[in-house]
């Protein structure tokens, strides 16, 4: 019997199925229709990319401090440069920037800590972020304590205000959303009706009417001697709006937990709040994180609407800078800069949410 003990060496793949040329042929030029599409796509790409690069980089003006320095044909980034600190801090007094910087740095640190999977003590960090950090941030930004000069809220603005609105709106909306979602799934008819009406009302109207309501009608609702800061009014509107969307995300997560989990916990004699807090919510929250991140992205984009009621968020301050008579005619640069900042934030968040979805998708496969 012939017995070959040697394994046959692997043969290379047939020529024409590997290498860049084969890739091109397989993905771009397989068939006449695809070839036409590829050429068309290349042409579109050429039309878009070449003038953009020319305008934004090659012909751009980078250094200088007034519009006289914008001598070349391309973009004038001098404008963004000159206004950069305003775009970041709004009308915050420049000698107090360090306070905003500390808050920025702490915020970034907390986010990094929560996002990097290997770092320990996530629960303590979350408690710190939710309970202690807001106090520190308020004391630092607003001042009036520890010899820090007061900076009233109408001077807050720029990216700082955008981040503040989005995070406060989000953190405030989460508990309200949880209560609403539990209420909507409750067996008690009146509780359920209240929650459904509340959720559907806020979800049914545009954010801008809510902001109008917060700025025009809220002063009517409250006793006349109680005047609410404009920023706080916007925050109340944003939080209520966001809580309705959050409630729906949480309800979706709760529905994904099999009923047996709740029943098994009940069979062990746990009360409603113990069942929710120890069994259902921890499992559901894990599934909800991508949805929560997605609603946060839309809230982050929606904060731009506060400029309509007179707050200067990043877009608001860019828009205000564009009407400065010394810098007329640089609207494209201003908008491109603002769009770039928003894009970076939203894109990285959506990537993070996709990563989480993949990571969490490993467990319960049927």
């Amino acid at each position: 019997m012939i017995h070959n003990k040697e394994t046959i060496p692997q043969r290379p793949a047939p020529k024409g199925t590997i290498g860049p040329i084969a890739w091109l042929r397989g993905n771009l030029f397989n068939g006449p229709i695809n070839t036409v599409f590829t050429l068309l796509g290349l042409y579109v790409l050429y039309l878009l990319v070449v003038p953009t690069v020319q305008w934004a980089f090659i012909d751009a003006n980078w250094v200088g401090d007034s519009r006289e320095d914008c001598t070349r044909a391309g973009a004038c980034w001098v404008f963004v440069n000159a206004r950069f600190s305003q775009f970041m801090y709004g009308l915050y007094p420049s000698e107090e920037y360090w306070r905003a910087n500390i808050v920025f740095a702490m915020f970034a640190g907390i986010i990094a800590w929560m996002v990097v999977p290997r770092l320990p003590f996530k629960r303590w960090m979350a408690l710190f972020a939710l309970l202690i950090f807001p106090v520190i941030a308020y004391v630092l930004l607003h001042g009036g304590y520890f010899d820090l000069p007061r900076v009233s809220t109408h001077r807050w603005g720029g990216l700082m205000l955008t981040l503040l609105l989005a995070t406060v709106g989000m953190v405030g909306a989460l508990p309200i959303g949880i209560v609403l979602a539990l209420g909507r799934r409750s067996n008690m008819p009146i509780v359920k009706t209240f929650c459904v009406i509340f959720i559907e009302f806020w979800r049914g109207v545009p954010l801008i009417t809510i902001l109008f309501m917060a700025s025009v009608m809220l002063p009517l609702f409250l006793p006349s001697e109680l005047s609410v800061d404009r920023l706080v009014r916007a925050l109340i509107g944003l939080t209520l709006f966001q809580s309705a969307y959050m409630a729906e995300v949480i309800r979706g997560g709760l529905q994904a937990i099999p009923k047996g989990q709740d029943e098994a916990a009940a069979a062990l004699g746990m009360t409603y709040w113990k069942r929710m807090g120890l069994i259902v919510m921890p499992q559901a929250l894990k599934m909800m994180i991508p949805g929560i991140v997605n609603t946060f992205i839309s809230l982050f984009k929606d904060t731009t609407l506060v400029m309509i009621i007179g707050l200067f968020d990043l877009l608001g301050i860019v828009q205000a800078a564009l009407s400065d008579s010394r810098w007329l005619g640089f609207s494209i640069e201003g908008y491109v800069f603002a769009a770039f900042v928003f894009w970076i934030f939203c894109f990285s968040m959506s990537r993070y949410s996709q990563y989480l979805e993949r990571k969490l998708n490993t467990g319960h496969k049927h």
């Binding site: 993905n27 796509g41 509780v191 545009p206 109008f212 609407l305 894109f347």
Partner: protein
């Protein structure tokens, strides 16, 4: 099997806070009381504030003369019209930009969504770049870009960009030729309606015949020919009773033709492009949600490729696509309220803006505005529930 003895001695009831039903009742009564107290507090404050400011409540103001002009009116309006009329004008403008936005966003969204799944690497990447760019930039920023950075920097009327001798684009808007219908044109819409009814009848007849005999006709193409061919035939037969009124430069501005104001263009473009990026993702995930086995099974039955798509893939994909799609449509209509930032005269801009500022009737105006959006949402979610019930998978 023995009957379990009752643990509690007879006649001993548990305290009421251990009785679930009673506890629920008490809890709900407390909730009602708290909400009622809150409402009474707010209403009391509001009345005191309104009295202090000397504002009388009520909807009587709707009959007063508005006294301001509106840039785009679909029905007759002058500054002598009433505030009630401004509400209608605003509502129509909202519905116009919403309807056209839904149409354009669907077309762009479906094309991009399908391109995203293209086997052509470059096309798929371009579609992906489109989606990732536009959905991660705030809508308001995009509206501002189109309005202030593009349309407001166009040349003046005298140097307007001309496309042929019929279409002109300048800083004041887009000028299109307007069709003027002569007598006898009424026949054509009438034929159109008749043709639609005829094709519906044809489709029903064909379905019955198909079920009875297994034979069927190419109904889709036939009804297409009927719906568009018949009115065209009548149009030619009656000697084309349409003339076109061209926009002409008179002095500093154009006269004649249809004017599309730049505010509308900017809002429409931004809404369509932004919403299309979400629709594209919905379409992509809807198509990808169909397991590959479905297509393979259909091919194993030797269905031709066209029928695989029409009978197997698309009906199943639509079940996944339609619910999020309608909520995107709803978002688009709600987002059209951003019109107020660039001054397009939609409901929020005209009614909750100018009318509110002139009359000071904040509560009535905001309530009416919100009611409009709530009714639209309610109608759409009723449709959604109906649709979900209709297409829901019937399982054992």
């Amino acid at each position: 099997m023995s009957v379990r003895p009752n643990i509690r001695p007879a006649g001993h009831k548990p305290p009421f806070w251990r009785d679930r039903a009673k506890r629920a009742l008490i809890f709900q009564l407390i909730l009602v009381a708290v909400v009622a107290a809150f409402l009474i507090y707010i209403i009391g404050n509001t009345q005191a504030n309104l009295n202090a400011r000397g504002i009388t409540t009520g909807f009587g103001f709707l009959g007063n003369t508005a006294g301001f002009g509106i840039g785009q009116t679909l029905i007759e309006y002058s500054s002598q019209s009433t505030y009630g009329r401004t509400f209608v004008i605003g509502l129509l403008n909202t519905l116009l930009v919403g309807g056209l936005g839904v149409l354009a966003a669907s077309i762009i969204g479906f094309i991009v969504g399908i391109a995203r799944l293209s086997p052509n690497w470059l096309i798929a990447k371009l579609a992906n770049a489109y989606i990732e760019t536009f959905r991660n930039i705030p809508l308001l920023l995009q509206i501002f870009f189109w309005y202030f950075a593009v349309l407001r920097t166009l040349p003046s009327a005298r140097e307007s960009m001309a496309f042929g001798e019929a279409i002109f684009l300048n800083v004041r808007g887009l000028y299109l030729p307007q069709p003027l219908f002569e007598s006898g044109f009424g026949l054509i819409p009438a034929t159109f309606v008749v043709a639609i009814i005829a094709s519906i009848v044809l489709v029903i007849w064909n379905k019955r015949r198909h079920e009875a005999t297994g034979k069927r006709l190419p109904v889709f193409w036939m009804s297409l020919v009927i719906i568009f061919g018949l009115p065209l035939l009548i149009l030619v037969a009656t000697g084309v009773p349409v003339t076109w009124e061209m926009p002409v430069l008179r002095g500093f501005n154009f006269g004649g033709g249809i004017t599309i104001i730049p505010e509308f263009l900017a809002l429409w473009l931004a809404l369509s492009i932004y919403t299309a990026s979400f629709i594209a993702e919905i379409v992509r995930s809807g198509i990808q949600a169909i397991p590959h086995g479905q297509t393979e099974a259909a091919q194993a039955l030797s269905l031709p490729r066209k029928l695989v798509l029409r009978l197997v893939v698309i009906p199943q994909a639509l079940r996944v696509i339609i619910p999020p799609l309608t909520s995107q449509y709803l978002n688009l209509i709600k987002n059209s309220s951003l019109a107020t930032a660039i001054g397009y005269p939609d409901l929020v801009s005209v009614f909750a803006g100018t009318t509110l500022n002139q009359t000071g009737q904040a509560i009535e105006v905001i309530a009416m505005t919100m009611a409009v959006y709530l009714i639209i949402s309610l109608l759409v979610s009723m449709f959604m529930n109906w649709f979900n019930a209709r297409v829901a998978l019937v399982e054992r």
